[in-house]
């Protein structure tokens, strides 16, 4: 991890938001690629939990089609949440995070790069897998498309919100439970509109209002949350 760090950060010829973003993104993707187990765990958890519901509730196809979008959203939300501690905690524990703040790149650049890499290695696989789970729940093709679209817009918001929460909780007592208490309430609006989009499509209404609000939320999150994440990291390293 530190070898990757030393290789690029310190030799950056011109430090800018873009170069910091690209460096951190490439580094975290490379790390995720070399330890594919973590991403696989997120995906396996998603599939496992989603397949527990039909076993617990009963396999009546009508009920499953009715609850499918909501269940898949909750499962995706929980899987994205479970992968959050890996975002900053490892780098915080071995001191890499402190080294990165000393690098010439602006903090918002590499922090955004890390969040983007987190989404690519957790939110994106979940989004791509969701139609498959949706088929198991007997959702129609239109609903599957809307569900995947809603997840594609919504999971980056989850990554951004979760990054802020996990940065706030760095070094705190209570670890995972504390992170759940911080992050899950903030995830609620995303869940409501994300599941609402697929639900609207399933009941014959237009999903576009829900998707528009999700998109507006994504824009707001992209603009506002990286600076909140930076502030949280500064507080953690103080």
């Amino acid at each position: 991890m530190n070898a990757l760090l030393a290789g690029h950060a310190m030799r950056a010829p011109h430090a800018s938001f873009g170069s910091g973003f690209a460096w951190a993104f490439r580094r975290d993707i490379a790390l995720a690629w070399r330890h594919p187990g973590e991403t696989m765990l997120v995906v396996a958890f998603f599939v496992l939990v989603a397949s527990l519901f039909p076993l617990g509730i009963g396999a009546e196809s009508q009920i499953l089609a009715r609850i499918g979008p909501g269940v898949i959203w909750v499962c995706a939300l929980l899987s994205a949440f479970l992968s959050l501690p890996g975002l900053f905690a490892g780098d915080y524990a071995d001191g890499s995070l402190e080294q990165m703040t000393l690098s010439p790149h602006p903090m918002s650049g590499w922090a955004s790069g890390k969040i983007a890499a987190h989404w690519v290695s957790s939110g994106l696989p979940l989004t791509m897998l969701s139609p498959l789970i949706g088929l198991q729940y007997g959702l129609t093709l239109d609903t599957l498309g809307v569900l995947a679209a809603a997840l594609a817009i919504g999971t980056p918001v989850l990554s951004l919100l979760g990054a802020a929460c996990t940065a706030l909780a760095l070094g705190a007592r209570g670890g995972g439970m504390l992170l759940a208490l911080l992050a899950l309430p903030l995830f609620v609006p995303v869940l409501v509109f994300g599941a609402g989009a697929a639900e609207a499509q399933a009941t014959g209404l237009s999903p576009s209002p829900h998707l528009s609000i999700l998109g507006a939320g994504l824009i707001l999150a992209v603009l506002a949350l990286p600076s909140a994440v930076c502030a949280a990291i500064r507080i953690a390293l103080d």
Binding site: L161, A164, C165, L168, A169, G171, A172, R173, G174, L178, L181, L182, L184, P185, L186, V188, P189, V192, L225, A228, A231, A232, I235, A236, D238
Partner: protein, 241 residues
């Protein structure tokens, strides 16, 4: 007037100790007046009968739950911007009172919902977002106390309060945005659709709760100051007398 003077914990401790009882007196006087107006003066509701009178606790508590969060986030913002210790202590001191009012709003709401809607709980937009507000308060308190260094907890929880601020407009406008079971607001700046005595009862109770919240926050802030400053000279002198 130099406001920075009161940002010093030692001066604020004395000021709060002097002010807190008066706020409690105001809270009791307004509370008695509000309950009198609510239970005696205000007429029986044409549709709901006597059960509507829970409004005199429910609505002021719901107002305060949102307002206290807003004030708490403002104190958090001040403490992050100017790095003042007292603002962070006030944010901490407000959180339990805000959580209490949120809980009261939910609790009285479910007692009101049972006879009028026929159910204790619905997953209605406003009720759900009020529940989220309760979790935001609990998360704030948990994060503030999760660190060895109290200053670290101050700053992390202040930032969390600011991030959670996006929930407030969602709660406030939820009854306009979603047409669900919870009724829309009847009190507006441009005139209300309710009896004057009912409005006065609600306003008196809201101001009573407000005064109580200030008093409770001041008392709690005093306790936090003593705990933080326990190694300073003035607290030792205070303890010695």
């Amino acid at each position: 007037m130099n406001w920075g003077y009161f940002a010093s914990p030692a001066t604020f401790y004395r000021l709060a100790g002097w002010m807190a009882p008066w706020w409690f007196v105001i809270a009791v006087v307004l509370g008695i007046a509000g309950l009198y107006v609510g239970f005696v003066v205000a007429p029986t509701d044409a549709q709901q009968g006597e059960v509507y009178r829970v409004i005199f606790i429910h609505v002021p508590a719901a107002w305060m739950s949102m307002f206290i969060y807003f004030v708490m986030a403002c104190y958090g913002g001040v403490s992050l911007t100017f790095n003042t210790r007292m603002a962070a202590m006030m944010a901490r001191a407000l959180a339990p009172t805000g959580a209490m009012f949120t809980f009261v709003a939910l609790w009285t709401g479910s007692f009101w919902g049972r006879p009028t809607w026929g159910t204790y709980w619905v997953w209605d937009a406003r009720i759900t977002s009020e529940l989220v507000l309760l979790f935001l308060y609990i998360g704030f308190i948990a994060l503030a106390n999760a660190f060895e260094d109290p200053r670290r907890g101050d700053r992390a929880s202040a930032l969390l309060a600011l991030i959670g601020l996006v929930n407030l407009p969602i709660i406030y406008f939820s009854v306009h945005w979603w047409n669900t079971l919870h009724q829309g607001s009847t009190v507006k700046l441009t005139g209300t659709s309710m009896h004057v005595a009912m409005l006065w009862g609600m306003l008196l109770m809201a101001f009573s709760f407000w005064a109580y919240a200030i008093g409770a926050a001041l008392v709690r802030a005093r306790a936090i100051i003593l705990e933080r400053e326990r190694r300073t000279q003035w607290v030792r002198e205070l303890a010695a007398t």
